[in-house]
């Protein structure tokens, strides 16, 4: 049997992480192909529902990444996001959702190497955890 290849959805901001990932590519740095990137204007725009929907659609892991604090294109979007994720993450933990599958990072447009490294480490971790069966089972439950 071939090795488990996790599906990872990355929600990234247009201004920092997306550009950073571009730099990873143009720098010819190879990294795990398991990640599907979704570009949004700002981390402040990332509704927590999008993360739930990613799990709903079969993601095994999720990445959220944007500009470093103080670097936001819209001044404070990432500060708002940070507060939201602090609360959201504790809600997930309290409800028994595996927070080892939800990763957050600040990756700037200059950090192509950091992006590659981060994606690789997340992919490795989720490979170890295996597919997110608990959630998938709940998604499939009771649907005819």
């Amino acid at each position: 049997m071939s090795e488990f290849e996790p599906k990872i959805v990355a929600f990234v901001c247009n201004w920092c992480t997306y550009a950073g990932a571009d730099l990873t590519g143009t720098s010819r740095i190879k990294y795990a192909p398991n990640v599907r990137m979704i570009r949004l204007p700002c981390t402040g725009r990332i509704d927590f529902m999008l993360l739930l929907k990613a799990f709903d659609q079969g993601a095994d892991g999720i990445i959220v990444s944007g500009c470093h604090p103080g670097d936001c294109h819209y001044t404070a979007g990432n500060f708002h996001a940070r507060r939201r994720w602090i609360i959201f993450r504790s809600a997930l933990e309290f409800l028994g959702i595996d927070t080892r599958r939800v990763h957050f990072a600040w990756v700037s447009a200059a950090e192509g190497a950091k992006w590659a490294e981060f994606v690789n480490s997340v992919t490795d971790e989720i490979k170890k955890l295996g597919p997110y069966e608990t959630y998938k089972k709940a998604v499939g439950a009771g649907i005819e």
């Binding site: 927590f48 529902m49 739930l52 709903d56 604090p69 103080g70 404070a76 500060f79 708002h80 940070r82 507060r83 939201r84 994720w85 602090i86 609360i87 959201f88 993450r89 504790s90 809600a91 997930l92 309290f94 409800l95 028994g96 959702i97 595996d98 927070t99 990763h103 957050f104 990072a105 600040w106 981060f118 608990t134 959630y135 709940a138 998604v139 439950a141 009771g142 649907i143």
Partner: protein, 267 residues
């Protein structure tokens, strides 16, 4: 009780208010909300320990607003909610007359939001020992056990949205669950739809919920909704040092930020 009726009669006779929102006798042991619009009906008002509903839920309803300026019978949880609604610009000073009721049933004179703030400040919000124990118990469970615990709880959910209807802070005229292009939260009572609904509800109330517990009382299948609300309120307090329902000028914790906000999970 007589004091309350007298006060309500006065307010209605002088035309200071058009409606008194209070408690009346319901079926069985329960009290229900009554809307007294004529002075001669002021005797319908009761006030005892059976009066637990958070009447502030009616302050934002268009059909109640249409009745005219209200007076509201308000015990401590209602007072907290009034402050939070004021902080969210849903009610303004002078929009309503607050008939505060102390824990021993006395009428307290609360002329303005400042007076409510001062009164509420005497009773700092604290979790009951049972709530603390329950939250701790869940915290100590393994990931799998916690998931099972909540799946069992949410598995009972009928998606009746009574929790939303009872909540004085769920006043959006168009709720996310009614958004169906695309359908955000599945309408049918189904494991993931239920989970998503309860996460959405808790998240949209985090930093706003005044923990009156009406959602849980309204739930026909006894889901421990207030545990989740309390947990998030505690997290907001721990991380951002604010608690909803303490001030009429409080800023919404999640609509705000500080440069020094701390977390330990962002790489």
């Amino acid at each position: 009780m007589e004091e309350l009726r007298k006060k309500a009669r006065e307010l209605l006779e002088t035309g200071a208010v058009k409606v008194v929102i209070g408690y009346g006798k319901g079926s069985g042991q329960n009290a229900r909300a009554v809307f007294v619009r004529k002075a001669e009906y002021a005797d319908k008002l009761i006030c005892d320990e059976s009066c637990v509903q958070n009447l502030a839920v009616y302050l934002t309803k268009p059909e109640v607003k249409a009745l005219g300026k209200p007076a509201i019978v308000a015990k401590l949880p209602v007072l907290r909610t009034i402050l939070q609604l004021a902080a969210e610009n849903q009610i303004a000073e002078g929009d309503l007359v607050v008939l505060g009721v102390s824990p021993d049933g006395k009428i307290i004179d609360l002329q303005n939001f400042k007076a409510i703030e001062d009164y509420v400040a005497q009773f700092p919000f604290e979790l009951t020992p049972e709530q603390k124990a329950e939250i701790e118990k869940i915290g100590k469970m393994s990931l799998e056990e916690r998931w099972q615990y909540w799946q069992e709880q949410f598995g009972r959910c009928l998606k009746c949205y009574a929790c939303r209807a009872a909540c004085p802070l769920c006043y959006c005229s168009r709720c996310l669950v009614e958004c169906n292009q695309p359908q955000w939260v599945p309408a049918a009572p189904h494991a993931i739809g239920n989970l998503e609904w309860h996460i959405v509800r808790a998240m949209h109330l985090a930093g706003r919920c005044t923990n009156c517990g009406d959602c849980e009382r309204a739930c026909p299948v006894g889901i421990q909704l207030s545990l989740l609300n309390l947990k998030l309120a505690e997290e907001v307090l721990k991380n951002f040092k604010t608690r909803a329902g303490a001030s009429s000028k409080a800023e919404y914790a999640l609509g705000n930020w500080k440069e020094e906000d701390k977390e330990n999970f962002i790489k």
